[in-house]
Symmetry: C2
Subunit: 131 residues, 2 copies
């Protein structure tokens, strides 16, 4: 009896114990495998960076402030009464994530939202609370 091991990963072992049925387990495992294979690793990283940039209350406030138009670092730090280094740092994070765009204007750096999608995402996040 040369028990043919068709088990292609530990996943099936686990699911087999779950369902008690090795055949069903294989099907379930294959389905899970298909789903996880569809998840692109680099896409995951990029999207996580976007969400991380939006996960800080101060940065979120900056984005909301920029809904009305372009502002320089000086105005933003003044509006929120925050140190310049802190404001600049958070703006660089937002910029790196692609959420804001920078425009140099003499000695000023003026920032604006890069996409309307940013506002849309904030609106959607607000919907998540009540449910």
């Amino acid at each position: 009896m040369t028990e043919v091991v068709e088990i292609w990963d530990p996943c099936v072992e686990r699911l087999a114990r779950l369902t008690g049925d090795r055949c069903k387990a294989k099907t379930a495992a294959r389905k899970l495998q298909n789903l996880t294979d569809k998840i692109d690793e680099s896409e995951l990283t990029v999207e996580a960076e976007v969400f991380k940039a939006m996960s800080d209350p101060f940065r979120l406030a900056i984005l909301k402030l920029l809904r009305e138009g372009e502002l320089c670092v000086c105005e933003i730090m003044t509006a929120f009464d925050k140190p310049q280094s802190s404001t600049s740092h958070h703006l660089s994070i937002l910029k790196r994530a692609g959420l804001v765009k920078e425009r140099k204007d003499g000695k000023w750096s003026r920032y604006r939202l890069s996409e309307g999608a940013v506002i849309e995402m904030m609106n959607l996040a607000g919907l998540m609370t009540g449910d």
Copy 2:
């Protein structure tokens, strides 16, 4: 000389030095003040929690996996080959943020996306990269 101080906050001082014109500075400051006043602090906190929950690659992967339907902790940890404690912990974070819902079923805890908006947010985040 009882110099009437109409300056209602340090904001104007700063903007006055920026523009050189105290009158314009007051207007600008008032405008900024109006904008910042519109930003609700508690709304900010809630939205930040949602984004923070979505800012981890593993949690994002879980959300993507759940697009296809309900899964138990055991299946999720198996799909990604992650420890049970870690998987359970991340699911609790997603649940607390309102992104997933839990359904107890015997000794299983089955999780599903709570809103279609979750998928929409991930799609929007993906758009942010190229621009």
